[in-house]
């Protein structure tokens, strides 16, 4: 879907991005992860030509973006800015309707789609006539997302979409984010410097440092097979937590004891990580999980054992 080939960019004397190549499939989320100033935003903006690459080529569906009309290219790419980037003189309604209006949608179509988006993002309808500065940070962020998703673009670029939020709001928006159907079947490139976030949201992670791409791969790959010391350093101190987040509980199903008796409090499992379950277990000695219709019992100890067995068989990769 998106393919970067040997992309470089420098500003005056800073080499912001050095020879980066990667590709993103049409239904996967790639996270650009790295410390501040390592060139993440620059890389992202080159994809919708807000910044022009010095060298290298970018292809979208096999077509070189240099050959696509700038505005047409951008109309097909949703973009969520680092600080929401809502137009201050437009109401929320007008902000969300920007792309539909540029695409010359009719009013009815725009209105019904807007209502749908506001609903999906848990935004009250009465926000429509307010101005961005009358909204909370979390609401602004969601409006920014709604605006980017209005015209159902096949590609979504997000620059630290949860950057400016407090941890609690951040958690709840991230949860919504994971479950939002609008985000399925899209090629998403997301920028963050938050390692936890990268592991929770990314199908693959591209780790950058100083404008260079150090390693790209699934979260567990980066953890288990770091290419060099830099990658190791990056995860130092968080490795255990990250690996627990990288393993989905359902994969441990074969190694967990079944629970004999049925209780209503069983947690139904789809994409939860081991970490999520451990957080629940911090408050009670055991819990029951319902995985693919089977009922399992889990305690801290049994989960750890299951992980060991899982790693031994699968050699550390999920699925």
């Amino acid at each position: 879907m998106i393919e970067l080939k040997n992309i470089s960019k420098s500003f005056d004397k800073t080499n912001a991005v050095k020879n980066i190549s990667f590709s993103v499939l049409k239904d996967e989320t790639l996270v650009l992860l790295g410390t501040s100033g390592c060139g993440k935003t620059t890389t992202l903006k080159m994809i919708n030509r807000l910044i022009k690459a010095d060298s290298g080529d970018i292809f979208i569906n096999g077509e070189n973006i240099k050959k696509i009309n700038e505005e047409k290219l951008r109309l097909g790419i949703g973009y969520v800015l680092q600080n929401h980037g809502l137009l201050p003189h437009y109401t929320i309604e007008q902000n969300i309707a920007i792309v539909p209006n540029l695409l010359r949608w009719g009013k009815d179509k725009t209105d019904s789609r807007m209502e749908e988006m506001l609903h999906k993002l848990h935004l009250p309808l009465n926000l429509k006539d307010k101005y961005p500065n009358q909204l909370s940070g979390g609401q602004q962020q969601r409006v920014g997302l709604a605006r980017a998703l209005m015209a159902k673009p096949p590609i979504l670029l997000m620059d630290e979409p949860f950057g400016a939020l407090d941890p609690i709001t951040k958690e709840s928006i991230k949860k919504e984010f994971l479950t939002l159907d609008e985000l399925q079947n899209k090629a998403i490139v997301m920028v963050t410097h938050d390692i936890q976030e990268a592991f929770e949201l990314g199908d693959r992670i591209c780790l950058m440092s100083n404008g260079e791409m150090i390693q790209i791969g699934k979260p567990t790959e980066l953890l288990e097979k770091p290419r060099n010391g830099l990658v190791k350093d990056f995860f130092r101190g968080q490795k255990l937590q990250l690996s627990l987040k990288a393993i989905e509980v359902k994969n441990l199903s074969p190694f967990l004891e079944p629970s004999a008796d049925r209780y209503d409090d069983a947690i139904s499992i789809d994409h939860q990580s081991v970490w999520d379950i451990l957080e629940i277990l911090a408050e009670k000695p055991f819990c029951r999980l319902e995985i693919n219709g089977e009922l399992k019992k889990a305690t801290n100890g049994s989960l750890m054992e299951a992980i060991e067995k899982f790693k031994a068989t699968k050699n550390g990769t999920t699925e």
């Binding site: 505005e71 951008r74 109309l75 600080n83 980037g85 137009l87 003189h89 540029l102």
Partner: protein, 522 residues
Amino acid sequence: MEQQNSFFQFISQESDKLLNQTLVHIGLTFISLIIAIIIALPLGVWISRRQKLASSVLGFAGILQTIPSIALLGVMIPILGIGVKPAIVALFLYALLPIIRNTYTGIKNIEPEVLEAAKAMGMNKWQVLKQVELPLAFPVIMAGIRTATVINVGVATLAAYIAAGGLGEFIFGGIALNNTNMILAGAIPAALLAISFDFLLSKVQRIGFKKLKTHLILLPVLFVLCSSFYFLPLAFDGKMLAGFTPEFMGRQDGDIGLRKIYGLKIRTVVISDAVMYKAAYDKKLDVISGYSTDGRLKAFDLITLKDDKNIFPPYFAAPIVNQDVLDKNPTLERILNLLSNKIDDSTMTSLNYKVDYLHQLPEQVAKEFLIEKGLYKSPRNGNGATIKIGSKIFGEQYILAQMYKMLIEGNSDLQVETKTGLGGTKICFDALTNKQIDFYPEYTGTGLLVILPQKPKLFAGIMGDKEKVYDYVQQEFNKNYRIKWLKPIGFNNTYAIMMRRKQVEKLGIKNISDLKENLEKY
């Protein structure tokens, strides 16, 4: 109360003129403003894209802004002549800076992230400009337009100097004629115009760009409507054009006398003395009201028409001095009288010619003259009291002031300070009565008709006689203001009607009655 009454009387008497001047004033302001907006807005947008050009464009517009208005109008005349064109161009130039600068700043102050967002959504440059930059910069741009409007309403008063009309006609006429009502009749409407335009535009500014969009078409319409006011009063006809100074326009012994006593009917514009002669020479004007000793008479080859019905009273020049100052400095009177009867009409004309046309310095001309007459003495550099000499704002007065300075410094230990260029009669005379100056050269006719309270019947009797006028003003000034008229300098700088020599010869006009007949022929 009486003052107020007569002010309203004045307004109602002159309501036609007032309406005309107000409309012209609005027209001038808005025509120049529209042109300025049309040029400055895109220019401001353009330089916001080209950082390198910004400082030079803003710097240039800034320099234009610092040129004194009168000087700017003066510079326009050789290029554009007199009347509407140079006035509009000058006003336009003044309006440029605030609009360019505010457009530039307004756009530059928009958060880069907002612009990036707009671009990223897929807007093209034009859409970004129209939907984001202009609306966000709108309040700042409007503030610039407001500033420009207020500046223009103010500067447009000066348009009266170059025959473009407007409320300046009353203001400057009033200053020249010492007529407070006339000044107020110009100044109050001008101030009201400035305040109300500023208020209206502040409303527009508050409405904001978005809601305005639907009414946006109305705005230019309104502006054009205001501009068209200008052309309403211009529906004159007539083959000759007269240019009279604001002062001349309001005087019994000026335009009023010409109409009443000669029955002269001629299309007239109001114009500053500074540009009138040149305009006559350039055939922009046919008839002007000049002064009989003006150097430019010689320079521009103009002919004085004979005043065959004696409407212009004698204007013999003499220093008028505060009596207190004479009492305190007993030598002063003798020194000032050294100049009495030393300068006749033709001498004064040629002295004026040197200053006004050959651009020699008044000091130099004064010194040469005094040396020639054997009156010059090197300054004693004494440290006595300081005598403050005033002068009105034209060459002859500068020369006389310099002569008096040299005489005082050479013949006494008094020190001298000159306050030249005090505008018209009113400003000079007020300065004198308020003791800001000690003396200045005044003309008997001006004393009689401008400064003293009007007594038409009495004046009619003495008008023709220069001795009687002198005696009368001397007496009255002493009685009313404790100001003393010293001995006359000799020349008679009276009003005169002038035309180009060639035209006069061609039409066979010798005096003002001939001119009247000629005008009525067709």
